[in-house]
Amino acid sequence: MSQSRAAVNPCAMCMPLGSVLVFRGIEGCMPLFHGSQGCSTYMRLYLAHHFREPVDIASSALSEKAAVYGGAANLKTGLKNVIRGYGPRAVGVSTTCLAETIGDDVERTIREFLQEEPDGRDIPIIPVSTPSYAHSHEEGYSAALLATVRALAQPSKQSCKLNLLVGSIVSPSDVRNLKRLLRDMSAEFILLPDISQTFDLPLTGDLPRVPAGGTPLEEIRDSANSRASITVGACARLPGAGEYLEEEFGVPHHALPLPIGLQFTDMLMARLEEVVGLPLPESYEQDRGRLLDAIVDAHKLLAHVKTAVYGDSEMVLGILKFMVELGMSPRVVATGTRSRAFATLAGEMAPQAAVLDAVDFSDIGREISARDVELMVGPFTGRQIAAAQNIPLLRVGFPNHDRFGASRQLLLGYQGAAGLVDAMANALLEHRERIPVKQQAPAPSPPGR
């Protein structure tokens, strides 16, 4: 934990940002921030840099007057214009620190809006409280996921569907692969939030106002009737959407880590087999075998390599587990999110590592230099440390602003793990090759001398 009063180079973003990743994973849903115009513009920019997609987030554009007299009128105008301009099927309203500090009652304003505007009545408006000073983007994500099922899930007829809740930020490509897995398992499923298309739109020459894809509202409503829920990315976070569905509607919930590496992926597969009652298809067993093969191929290169892994807590825990499986030596394990559960779990997996939560890159950089780290794995935000300390950095997870392909980065499942082994090994090799020959160990004497 940081002893410092000031944060130097943040390793976390604010709550509303996380909420967008959920709202944009709902079919036809448009996010709206209740706050000053800058919040939506900054976060649009931040997300556009990462996903390389247009990202529209509306704002209630609070001004000085609103800050004094309350922002209800702005929020209503904002909702009206978003509905008129974008024709969304749902609107997710996230608060910002400004709206929370002036004490706006968002739920009441939405109720009033629905009474005043008949146009809005068929459009679910999902409010979520995301004051930036409370927690990080990770909690903002969880809060929006919970708010979504809370607002929409309705008991009706029992179904044999499985809810797969994505509990942490993963790439569109990872979501696509989770869906493929469920289809290959012949499971009827509801996956939420589904950003596989909404943040990774195929180029068609046309641009719909609200991107196509996302979890249909009907399915989210039906999630109360499923036979079970699995949340992947639920190691270190507080109870959320899965627990809510269990408590309210009796849908049994299984909290799992993100399926990163061999054993965490095995855990998901085992749980799926148990819930669905069918064995994992042979092609996945083959993928698993190929992963083992890739691991064995690279094991000597990776053995005892001192690593630092940082970023979103769930992703870090998954990669940490994998590093231990590979015989690597994690020395710094860090997240910007405050989480005791993270610290405990990471400490158990890597007793020799410095485990840090609620830290900034100044702390991370200090630990890295003190522990002789040879490889960094995490978001691009570690680049200044990597450059200053001449350590290879493998860019993984969110955010990634300075390289292409963040949307297509596959991290989950056996295939994702195989890619990660290769990438870590290659990052080390490329770094070694870049070191000029004279800095390497002296070459053996030429023959004949």
Partner: protein, 468 residues
């Protein structure tokens, strides 16, 4: 009206020749319309951040510092402190009990750790609401530490970027005049509103030096606190990004009597006239002659390159959407040099005068738009049949999805666009994107089965493959 998506936006969009009314522009954006504008804080931050050796401390929750960490694209020839982002990381308790103590603690700690020549402290939305006294804390810290600690009153909701520019200028103004200096040349200038994005400044400054002029301070690209402190000694202020820095230029004129000229370093014509304007001001025959020599030499060098590219892009249609009006105006002239027609032009924060000026410059049929949003831009790009959009990152992917070429004229560009060589870079980039083969790749794959249903096995049921 050419597009009509939101009620209340009518006056902000105009096609030249269509209506004689002046274009509406206001400080408040329409709620729900997804304005491309940011906030007061962002305005202050973009102006001050390029000051390379200053410490930039954001008083607020973590987000405001996260989203502005090292995003400016401004280069440095030395110090790198500006590439770090500092925040007081306000939490719930600070919101309840006030954040002044936390702020003072953070300033002390950071000063001791980094020993910066100056600290800028930015206020964010909630600081304005909970009422922390930024001025008092900064004053106390400044006295205690013996370092300028400058408050930047930039609560996000108190207006738009323009207010942020002013807040930044006020902070700079406090710094200016605090240091004495004996200039090396009798001809001294400051460059205001030059942010050294991608190294622009280094494509410009050598010409002034060649003219015998000493650039005392660059505000703020590749800037140093020490240089800013002596900026009052310059005889002339050249103002490039007029939206952000005219306010400071006027204040300097008032206090120190330094005259200012508005110039632009972008485009051959504008670059040449920037140098001429400066030489005219000093009115020294040798300098005037030298300036003409430089201009002739440089034009002779780059014009053939521009002409070659001109042949490849002439007649194409460009759309411009910029933060400030100065760049937009300069772009219109530069496109003229390339024979490219401007069909849409808009800005986030232009004022009445800016739009009047733009209205005179552009051709009939050009759409002028204030504070545009993605829906309007999308429709306009299609209706005006634009081949190219020049804007910032938020707009880039909108253009790409519509298969329209794009050129970044904002923080994210990696080549210099200013100076004579900068114009060549710009022309090259326009050419590279407009004439790329990627726009002609087929959107739909040609299938041997298209229109030949009899070939599909199983008749109606396309899910069953042929097997014999």
């Amino acid at each position: 009206m050419i597009v009509n998506i939101f009620e209340g936006r009518e006056g902000h969009i105009q096609q030249k020749g269509e209506s004689p009314l002046p274009l509406a522009c206001s400080n408040e954006s329409l709620a729900g319309a997804v304005s491309q504008r940011a906030c007061v804080y962002s305005g202050a931050r973009v102006v001050l951040n390029p000051l390379t050796d200053a410490l930039h401390l954001v008083h607020g929750p973590i987000g405001c510092a996260s989203y502005t960490w090292d995003i400016r694209g401004s280069c440095t020839s030395g110090p790198r402190l500006y590439r770090s982002s500092f925040s007081t990381d306000m939490k719930e308790l600070d919101v309840i009990f006030g954040g002044e103590k936390r702020l003072l603690g953070a300033i002390r700690e950071l000063e001791e750790r980094y020993r910066p020549p100056a600290i800028f402290v930015y206020s964010t939305c909630i600081v304005g609401v909970i009422g922390d006294d930024l001025q008092a804390v900064c004053k106390a810290a400044s006295e205690e530490l013996g370092v300028p600690v400058l408050p930047v009153q930039s609560e996000g909701f108190r207006g738009n970027k323009n207010e942020g520019y002013k807040a930044a200028c006020n902070a700079l103004f406090q710094l200016i005049g605090s240091k004495d200096y004996a200039p090396r040349s009798p001809y001294t200038i400051n460059l205001l509103g030059e942010y050294n994005v991608a190294g622009d400044l280094w494509r410009v400054k050598p010409y002034f030096e060649e003219m015998g002029i000493e650039v005392l301070a660059s505000l703020t690209g590749d800037g140093r606190v020490e240089d800013i402190r002596r900026a009052h000694l310059a005889r002339l202020n050249l103002v490039q990004c007029s939206g952000s820095m005219t306010y400071l230029a006027r204040k300097l004129e008032e206090r120190y009597g330094t005259p200012h000229r508005r110039i632009s370093f972008f485009g051959l014509q504008d670059m040449a006239s920037a140098l001429r304007t400066t030489a005219e001001f000093f009115a020294v025959p040798e300098m005037t002659a030298r300036t003409e020599e430089i201009i002739q030499r440089e034009l002779w060098r780059v014009e053939p390159q521009i002409d070659m590219i001109r042949q490849r892009v002439e007649g194409r249609r460009a759309a411009i959407y910029m933060g400030g009006a100065a760049k937009a105006v300069s772009l219109v002239r530069a496109f003229r040099e390339l024979g490219v027609e401007v069909v849409i032009i808009g800005t986030q924060t232009g004022d009445r005068d800016d739009y009047r000026k733009i209205g005179i410059m552009v051709r009939e049929g050009t759409v002028i738009i204030d504070d545009a949003n993605p829906l309007e831009l999308r429709e306009l790009l299609q209706k005006q049949k634009a081949d190219l959009l020049v804007a910032g990152v938020k707009e880039r992917f909108l253009a790409y999805k519509l298969r329209i070429a794009f050129c970044d004229f904002n923080h994210d560009r990696t080549t210099e666009f200013e100076g004579f060589d900068g114009m060549v870079n710009f022309a090259r980039e326009v050419d590279a994107t407009i004439n790329s083969p990627v726009w002609k790749l087929p959107l739909k794959r040609e299938s041997p089965l298209t229109g030949r249903e009899e070939m599909i096995c199983g008749g109606e049921d396309v899910s069953e493959p042929c097997c014999g």
